[in-house]
């Protein structure tokens, strides 16, 4: 009797013991769910191109991890937190998804990472901008890979204030990301001796910016900062150029501008614009080599987000292979223990708050005469070292950061 009792207990203990149950790949497959805006405002900075980058990473890795196949699911979150959260819940409950990749609109990401924490699955955020994702909204279950609003503000705004642009008017997208960028910019501008003379929060998305541009012109600020992204930034820049904002002596500062935006706007409108980026395809041999392979498949050069999706997926798969597990905590620990050295980053590392810190770049958009091709768009002015670029842990409000 006792023997049966003890062996039952032992069996139960074995089943419950986390270490033993996790040292394998669940469901005999590594499943990656790719969630992004596939059809709206943010489609071109991640979207189907990001899915292609994810597939490239899987192909380059060999299509399987330690004999287990790698499967990809993808969905359009339509920039809706509800849609994104429901999709991910379904993926975890029904499809046994191990990793959620992509993730663009910050509001969607914050909703999804909450679910990832409850269900103990892993997420790698490549598209989102809000620095709050690894600050007050940090979880042990997600990593923020490419950039956030802190280096954007710190890189671009600081450079501009240093050059004498000390009075600012801000055009802010009225949601989580815009607010985060706005507050990061305000901090940087004030710390460096500048002043915010006015701001307006516009609905997301907005197509007609003429009214806001007129308000910016009336403010008398030297710098008009765009704390928005995607088509909002494109629309604002186009309208500003029509209303002669630059000719009347004001300077535009795009705080979050992607390669595809510059390409869409054309160099006539964007030349001379300074911006901060986490990666550029024409940085070095390794980035060029990968970007050209990507170009062959998509006929477009990759954005920093698409490059980040490739880089982070490979890093993840390496960690799964190394540990032989797809358990979130195990893989997360292995990923943090290994520095990121690839076409995307040199000596990038994942901090305890989930922030992957790496060098960022202050670039200037080339003039039409300097550009040698459709995608020859940036000149790198300055490398912002990783430690300077991102919010220091000493200022962090993340609960995972000790003391």
């Amino acid at each position: 009797m006792n023997v049966i009792k003890y062996s039952t207990l032992t069996a139960a203990a074995l089943l419950l013991a986390p270490g033993l149950a996790q040292a394998e790949i669940s469901g005999d497959a590594v499943k990656i769910g790719y969630l992004a805006d596939m059809s709206g405002t943010y489609r071109d900075l991640a979207g189907p191109g990001g899915l292609e980058a994810l597939n490239m990473a899987i192909e380059d890795f060999g299509g399987e991890v330690n004999g287990a196949p790698i499967e990809v699911l993808s969905a359009d979150d339509r920039n809706s937190a509800d849609v994104g959260a429901n999709t991910v819940r379904g993926w975890i409950d029904q499809d046994d998804v191990d990793l959620v990749a992509g993730m663009v609109a910050s509001s969607v990401t914050i909703a999804v990472t909450n679910i990832l924490e409850q269900q103990d699955k892993l997420g790698i955020v490549s598209g989102s901008a809000a620095s709050s994702i690894t600050n007050e909204h940090c979880t042990p279950n997600h990593i923020h890979w490419v950039y956030d609003t802190y280096p954007m503000a710190n890189g671009t705004a600081k450079a501009i204030v240093d050059e004498g642009g000390d009075t600012w008017f801000l055009l802010t997208a009225d949601y989580a990301f815009g607010h985060a960028l706005e507050s990061d910019v305000e901090t940087v501008v004030k710390e460096n001796g500048g002043e915010i003379v006015g701001k307006v929060r516009h609905p997301f998305p907005t197509s007609d910016f003429s009214s806001y541009i007129l308000q910016a012109q009336g403010s008398g600020a030297k710098i008009v900062g765009l704390a928005n992204a995607g088509s909002d930034t494109v629309n604002a820049l186009t309208t500003a150029s029509q209303f002669g904002l630059v000719q009347s002596g004001q300077t535009l500062a795009g705080l979050l501008i992607f390669l595809n935006d510059v390409q869409a706007l054309g160099l006539d409108v964007t030349q001379g614009l300074q911006l901060t980026t986490g990666w550029y395809w024409d940085m070095d041999d390794e980035s060029r080599e990968w970007a050209n392979r990507y170009y062959e498949r998509t006929q477009r050069m990759p954005t920093m987000v698409q490059a980040g999706i490739y880089s982070s997926t490979l890093h993840y798969l390496n960690a799964v292979a190394e540990t032989g597990s797809d358990d979130a905590a195990t893989v997360r620990e292995q990923m943090a223990a290994t520095p990121v050295n690839d076409m995307f980053a040199d000596d990038g590392r994942i901090r305890e708050d989930g922030r992957m810190v790496h060098d960022m770049y202050l670039v200037e958009v080339k003039s039409p005469s300097e550009s040698e091709g459709e995608w020859d768009l940036y000149e790198i002015l300055r490398t912002i070292p990783a430690e300077e670029a991102f919010r220091p842990l000493s200022e962090s409000q993340c609960s995972l950061v000790k003391g």
Binding site: S39, T41, D208, S211, N260
Partner: protein, 295 residues
């Protein structure tokens, strides 16, 4: 300087002028919708997509055929309007005898197909269309800098709106159209080819959308999604003005542009919602719309 609620009067003038320009766009688009609904009783959900097709046709025409802006303004509405005629002949006609909701579903489906196809081909970032040289630059009005092109948009849109209104309300052809919707059987007994009138009307409504698209091309980035965001607002305008009322669509379009413009100054966060608030109030107080006849 004189101020109203803390906003200098001059700044307010500028904002009102911009509101009027946007209102002219709303008027032009809602006019097309109103014409189509008034005569066909079809709720044309493809209107936004047809506006977008107008802008795209202008852009592609310029890139591949060297079609200049002024020609595009003439040719593109004809081409897209012809597409509208095809849609009416091949699809809408087959469902005209059943519930109007099917027309809505059909045109909504068409809009998704047009947009989806172009998103796949061109992405959503869009491209810019150069402002024609004659209309480049702008005036300094003292209280604001007005790009010449925007002034042109205001004039062109108003002229087309008034022309359409005149055609439908003040000419014999317009009288046929109105009578045809009132009692098609009787009109046919008089020897008027009503089905042809209906086809041409749909084609004309679509051409209006395409015309607005060409007008918009140099202002907004030309992208496959440019129509869908505008369409909902335009529908609200039509509902406020009264479904099917031509003059109502024009006046409401202008008024909503002004109200939206003021909201952008006093409470920008609500700029996208204010028109819908107006719509709710109007529906509560006058369900048939401001200019609609009580059903």
């Amino acid at each position: 300087m004189t101020t109203i609620f803390g906003i200098p009067l001059m700044v307010l003038f500028g904002q009102l002028l911009l509101g009027l320009i946007n209102g002219a766009f709303y008027a032009l688009l809602s006019l097309g919708l109103a014409v189509i609904f008034g005569l066909l009783k079809v709720i044309n959900f493809a209107h936004g997509a047809q506006y977008m097709l107008g802008a795209f046709a202008a852009l592609l025409g310029l890139e591949y055929l060297g079609l200049d802006y002024w020609l595009a303004l003439l040719v593109v509405p004809l081409v897209v309007g012809a597409l509208g005629i095809l849609i009416e002949r091949l699809l809408l006609r087959r469902i005209q005898h059943i519930d109007h909701l099917y027309g809505l579903l059909l045109t909504f489906g068409l809009a998704l197909i047009f947009e989806g196809t172009l998103v796949n081909l061109f992405g959503v970032s869009g491209s810019s269309y150069p402002v024609p040289e004659v209309l480049a630059g702008g005036f300094n009005l003292g209280f604001m800098f007005l790009p010449t092109y925007r002034a042109w948009v205001l004039v062109a849109a108003l002229v087309v709106c008034l022309f359409t209104w005149f055609m439908i309300e003040r000419t014999r052809l317009g009288a046929y159209l109105r009578a045809g919707t009132e009692n098609p059987k009787l009109m046919q007994a008089f020897g008027v080819n009503v089905p042809l009138l209906v086809t041409l009307t749909y084609g004309f409504g679509v051409a209006l959308a395409a015309f607005a698209g060409v007008l918009a091309a140099p202002i907004y980035p030309v992208s496959p999604t440019m129509g869908s965001s505008l369409l909902i607002v335009v529908f609200a305008v039509v509902v406020i003005g009264g479904m099917g009322s031509i003059l109502g669509a024009i006046l409401t379009g202008l008024a909503m542009g002004l109200i939206e413009g003021l909201t952008k100054v006093f409470y920008p966060e609500a700029a996208n919602t204010v028109i819908f608030l107006v719509m709710i109030v109007v529906l509560l107080l006058r369900p048939a719309g401001l200019f609609g006849k009580e059903a």
